[in-house]
Structure formats: C-alpha cells, structure tokens
C-alpha cells in the first residue's frame, strides 16, 4: 500500500462511517418520542431533571446504568419503592439506612417538598423509558432475592415462623440435615438430582393409581411418607434417580428424623399443589 492509498482509505472510511452514523442519528430522532414516552415530559419532569443535575446525583448513582458506581441504579426505583416512601427517604435518608449497617449513607440534600416531588416525577418518567428489557432482572437496593443467599451474607438461616406443622415442615425441608432441598427443588420443571416436588400431591395420587405402582400407600400423604422412610418401595427410573433398580436417595431417614418431623415434612409437601 502506498501512502496515497492509505490516505484515501482514511478519508473514505471516515466519510462512510460519519455518513452512516448521521443517517442512524436522524432515524433515532424519529423514534425518540415513542421509545422515551416523550409526550409525558411535563414541567415537573423537566424541573426534576434540573434537580437531578444540580445535586450532581449522577456522580454517585447510575440512571439507565450510566453514572457512578457508588450508589444503586435508580432506573426502576419508582416502580420498586413508590412515591410515599421516596418522599420520606429524600427528606432524611438516615432514617432508612446507616453507615454502620450498610457501609454507606446518602447525605441529606435539604430539598423542598416541591423539588422532591419533581425529582420523583423525573424518575417516574425515566422508569417508563423503553430500555430493551434492561435490567434483565431487577436491581435491588438492599436484601437478597435468592432463597438461602442471605445465609451466605452472614444472616442466620431462617427459623420456623410459627409452631404450625406445615411451617415446621417447611423449615425442616430447607434445613441441612436432612438436606431435602439439596436434591429436590419445589419449582416446576427443576430437577436437581432427584425429581422436583412441585405439584407432589397430584403426582403422588397418579402414581398410586398407576398399575406400575409397587408400594403399599393408599393416599398421597401415605405415598410421601413411604418415599421418605423407604425410598425403595417404589423406584422411579432416571439416570440420577436410581441405579440397578435401587433408589439413590438415603434410606435412613426413618432413623435420623423424628416421627413428628416426618409428619411435618409430609404436611408441608402436601401443600405444594
């Protein structure tokens, strides 16, 4: 390649890129009103945007995922928290969060009630922009959306909320030992190692009624009890369920669990309709 050819490559490629970019920019402008719900931009939204800029919010928070990474994203915050909460929060964030507990705290901005309403209107408008499905799952400010994940964050495992047998059964099911939840999910279609227990009462009834059934149970509760204490009474086929006609589930729950615990777990599993 000669220097002349290189220069030509530079000019032509720059020109072509700039041209395509300009055309797409014009087309984007055509679509902005619909995508951003621009008709809803009223004087409150605009006033709220001024508050947003004046208070330099973007240098801690992200909005539409853009800004700084020191505070939570606020794209969907009005959908998550609602105006009454946000109003109280903006008056005094220290009523809701503390540096001791959360590591960070937002300074009190000393906004007027009108400014607070405006900035909430602005954030409300933002939350309705078409973001092409982003965020793919909600970004939470605090807390855990995954069962059990809070335990990993140093929070003690959940205890039974009451002495109700079903509630005690649920707690036992999720505790380790016995570790039921480690192999059986309660979500439909999720087979971890053992089959999912979602919809178990109906499944159990269907199994008993089937001519293939080899156990002694007469009803769903009996089937569940039998499966816990005597996994080999009726063996399901499946690569991770059984081998050589023997179930892979531990066979000693009859000894390690107390009889009332087994009844509680059965009561809980019967609720998974």
């Amino acid at each position: 390649m000669t220097k002349r050819a290189a220069r030509l490559f530079f000019f032509l490629s720059t020109l072509a890129s700039a041209l395509i970019f300009t055309v797409l920019t014009i087309d984007s402008h055509r679509q902005f009103p619909k995508l951003t719900n621009a008709a809803a931009i009223d004087e409150h939204v605009i006033a709220g945007k001024h508050v947003w800029h004046r208070e330099n919010c973007t240098n801690c928070h992200t909005l539409l995922g853009e800004g700084a990474y020191y505070a939570p994203d606020l794209t969907k915050i009005t959908a998550q928290r609602g105006a009454p909460y946000l109003r109280e929060f903006l008056k005094d964030p220290s009523k809701f969060y503390s540096e001791a507990r959360d590591g960070r705290l937002m300074p009190t901005l000393k906004l007027t009630d009108q400014e607070i309403d405006d900035v909430i209107a602005f954030l409300g408008w933002i939350s309705r922009i078409d973001t092409q499905g982003w965020p793919p799952r909600p970004i939470l400010v605090r807390g855990s959306a995954v069962p059990g994940a809070a335990t990993a964050l140093g929070v003690p495992a959940p205890q039974a909320a009451s002495q109700d047998p079903i509630e005690l059964g649920r707690a036992a099911y999720n505790a380790t030992p016995p570790g039921c939840a480690a192999c059986h999910s309660v979500a439909p279609g999720v087979n971890i190692v053992g089959p999912t227990l979602a919809g178990l009462p109906a499944t159990a009834a269907a199994r008993i009624a089937s001519p293939d059934y080899k156990g002694k149970a007469k009803d769903a509760a009996g089937y569940i009890r039998e499966s816990i204490v005597e996994p080999n009474a009726h063996v399901l086929t499946g690569p991770t369920y059984a081998a050589g006609g023997r179930s892979l589930m531990p066979g000693d729950y009859g000894e390690t669990l107390k009889p009332e615990q087994i009844e509680q777990i059965v009561a809980y599993l019967l609720t998974l309709r």
Binding site: F21, A38, N59, E66, P135, P138
Partner: protein, 456 residues
C-alpha cells in the same frame, strides 16, 4: 529543542503535572470512601470528589496535549510559534478555568452531567481557549508553509476535540436525547479524535526515538486513524444500549466496537516495527519506556478490557457495574497518560538546556514501574470487584448495598494499588520539578534553528 518558542511547552507540562498530582489526592479519597464509613460525608461527599477526580484528568490531559502540540508543531513545521504571548495568555485562562471548576465543585457549582460537569460559563471559556489555541497553531503552520502528516493528524485531532465539545453546550429536556449527545463529546473524544492525538504523538516519538523512516510510519498512521474512525464512530453505538434508543444500535455497537482493539493492536505493532527496525538505541531510554508502554497498555486497557464488556449479551449484565472503571482506568492511563508522560520525558532534556540524548534518572525509572504496577493492581481490584458485583447483584439478585459489603477486600486492594500508583506519580513530579533543572530560553542548536526559520 530546536526553536526558542518551544519553551512554552514547559509551563504547560508543569501545570499538567500539578493537576495530575491533585487528581491523585481526589482519587485516593474516592477509593477510601468505598471502604467507608465516611467522616467527610457532609463536607466533601463522594459525588464531589469523583467529579473533581475525573475533571482534573480531562483538564490535565488536555493541558498536556496542548504543551505537546506547542512543542511538536514548531519542530515539524520548522518555524517559531506564531505568538508565544498568546500561548501564555491561553495557559493562564485555561488554568484559571480549571481551578475555578474544581473550587466550584466543592461549593456545589456544577452542571451535574457526567464528565461534562463544567457550568455553562466555564464551558464557554473552554471553547474560547480552544479557539485561541487552534488559531495560534494554524497561523504557525501557515507561516511555515510546511505541514507534515504527523502534525496534520495531531492538529486535526485537536480541532475535532474542540468541535465535538460543542454538543455539550446544548441542553435537552429529554434525558435520553441528552445522554445520546453527551456521548458525541465523551466517546468521540476518547475513542475517536484523542486516538488521533495519541497516534500522532506516538508517530512523532517513534520517528525521533527510533529514527525509523518517516514515510513508512506516516503511511501506517493514516491506516490507524482510518481504523479508529471506522470502529470509533459507529462504535459510539456501544453507549447506546438500554438507554431508550432504537434496537439496531445493539448489533452495530457489538460489531464495530469489536473492531476497536484493531486500532490499538495497530499501534502496538507500529511500536514493535519501529523497535525491530532500529533497536532500542535511543539514549533517552525513559521516553522509549513511556512510548512503548503507551502502545502496549492502551492495547490491554482500551482494546482488550473494552472488548470484555462491549458485546450486548455481556453488557446486559455488566452495564453500570465496577467493570466500567476497570476498563476506564487502564484505558485512560495507557492511551493518554503514558503518551503525555512520554512526550514530557522526551522533551524535558531539551527544555532544560541539556542534550536531548542525555537523560535517564532513577526517579523517572521508578516512577514508570510504580505507575505500571499500581495501575495493574487497580485494574485487577476493579475487575475482581466488578465480576463479583455482576454475579451477586445482577445475576443472583442480591441487593446493591449487601453486594458492596462483600466487595470490601477488593476496595482495600484498590486503595493499596492506588497508593503505589500515587507514589509513582509523586516521583515523576519530583523528577520534573526538582531534578530536571530549570527551563532555558536558548535552543540547543540555535544556529540550525535560525537558518531554518523563515522569520529570520
């Protein structure tokens, strides 16, 4: 230094380095705030510190570019600068603007628009300064009648920098539209026209340091800048994900920003070629360190780490996490900080009245390695924090604040690496202000310069 007026680069470099030092103070402060609790919460909160940290970066880099241009243009055009006095006035106004902006931020005077926080009156000052600067360069080149490709790319990059600042002067009621045009300035600066500046400075330094054939390097400079614009202009699309713009920006952003590493790969190959041709023979070995370092670190930071989260399917999960500063820190350092420090290291012996060939100080050497290690450590800390944040917060759905508490160990590493980096910066400043000596007015080869200058 061959021309008397090149000396004006010295005060530009001095101001740039002082602001660089100040940027470190605010960077460390910001990193410390990640560890919390924050005793300065109601005096100097994070948002102020962060705005100052990033604005100082932009201002000092631009100051460095200006100094570099005032050093390079007379030498390339073989003529004295059009007006030294104008250059000093320009520096005075520019510095006053920078200081006013920083003090203003402390007292909450801000436009609150990321990286473009400068209040409107200061934005006008920036435009005026850029015009003064371009006028001075333009008149110099006009008087000389000699215009090399290298300086053409440099001046072109600087002129486009001024031009692309103009969208920042407008205000839009629609936040999405405002964000759309904010990237015309920010993205097209750092992934477009500033790469022209980097490429030109790299070409200048490689020509001087390796003595390789100018025609060959300048030919490839065109190719690199051409690639920059193919990937950079349409690559703006990678900022147009998830912000309320049409869907077609997603595949465009993915495809064209995947080409961006080519530019940096090109620059690294460029440097490698120059070394292959002539070896590492130049006596100013530290200038060579910074120059080659810039080519390599920008390939890593801007090229590779940018690519790491630019694909839409990945960015969907990483958008707005600490993955961004991971890429941002190393990219700015490699592409722009190192090239400016390389230019300063190259020009300094001449500016302080020594032989251009005769300098290698231990301070500059250690500054180089401390900055390299510090920046590497910071990038790793941000990467570990960013990946963990993406997984815990975005994929598992654990709350933002709970996740941040889990990242403390990475923030600790960030602070430690930041201290290493700052030590490197301090050494560079010490070398520049205390070891290199005072600037001189008399060029090294006075007679040669006079013979070449059409003004005489």
């Amino acid at each position: 230094m061959r021309f008397r007026s090149q000396r004006v680069a010295y005060p530009y470099f001095a101001v740039a380095l002082l602001l660089f030092g100040l940027q470190m103070v605010f960077g460390l402060l910001a990193a410390a705030k990640y560890l919390g609790p924050d005793p300065l919460l109601n005096v100097l909160p994070f948002d102020v510190v962060k705005a100052i940290h990033t604005n100082l970066l932009l201002v000092w880099l631009l100051t460095g570019f200006m100094g570099a241009a005032y050093y390079l243009v007379p030498e390339e055009s073989r003529v004295e600068l059009h007006s030294v006095r104008l250059a000093y006035v320009q520096l005075g106004i520019w510095t006053a603007m920078g200081v006013t902006a920083v003090v203003g931020y402390v007292f909450r005077w801000t436009a609150g628009n990321k990286l473009l926080e400068q209040p409107f009156p200061l934005k006008l000052v920036i435009v005026i300064v850029m015009l003064m600067f371009l006028y001075n360069l333009g008149m110099t080149i006009r008087a000389a009648g000699r215009f090399t490709t290298t300086e053409g790319v440099l001046v072109g990059g600087l002129a486009c920098t001024a031009l692309l600042y103009l969208p920042a002067l407008f205000e839009f009621d629609n936040y999405t539209v405002a964000v759309f045009y904010r990237w015309w300035t920010v993205h097209l600066w750092v992934e477009g026209v500033w790469e022209m500046i980097q490429g030109a400075l790299l070409a200048f330094l490689l020509i001087r340091l390796s003595g390789v054939d100018r025609e060959v390097l300048e030919k490839w400079l065109y190719v690199i800048v051409g690639l920059t614009f193919i990937s950079g202009v349409l690559g703006t699309a990678h900022h147009y994900y998830w912000i309320g713009v049409p869907r077609y920006w997603l595949p465009i952003g993915g495809f064209f920003s995947a080409l961006e590493p080519l530019v940096f790969l090109g620059m690294a190959m460029y440097a490698y070629y120059a070394i292959r041709r002539s070896g590492l023979a130049h006596p100013n070995r530290m200038a060579l360190h910074w120059t080659i370092g810039s080519a390599i670190f920008s390939a890593l930071g801007a090229g590779l780490l940018g690519l790491a989260h630019t694909w839409p399917a990945v960015n969907k999960w990483t958008h707005g996490t600490l993955i961004t500063p991971m890429h941002g820190h190393m990219a700015f350092f490699g592409a722009y900080v190192m090239i400016v420090l390389g230019m300063i290291t190259y020009a300094l012996p001449g500016l302080t009245g020594r032989s251009e060939d005769s300098r290698e100080t231990a301070a500059n050497f250690w500054s180089f390695w401390l900055q390299i290690s510090g920046m590497f450590g910071m990038t790793m800390a941000f990467a570990a924090a960013g990946i963990t944040q993406t997984y815990l917060e975005r994929i598992l759905g654990i709350g933002y604040l709970d996740t941040q508490l889990k990242l403390q160990v990475h923030f600790l590493m960030l602070v430690v690496a930041g201290i290493l980096f700052t030590a490197g910066v301090a050494l560079f400043l010490w070398d520049f202000f205390f070891l290199a000596g005072r600037p001189v007015a008399v060029p090294e080869r006075e007679g040669l310069a006079a013979a070449r200058s059409p003004a005489v």
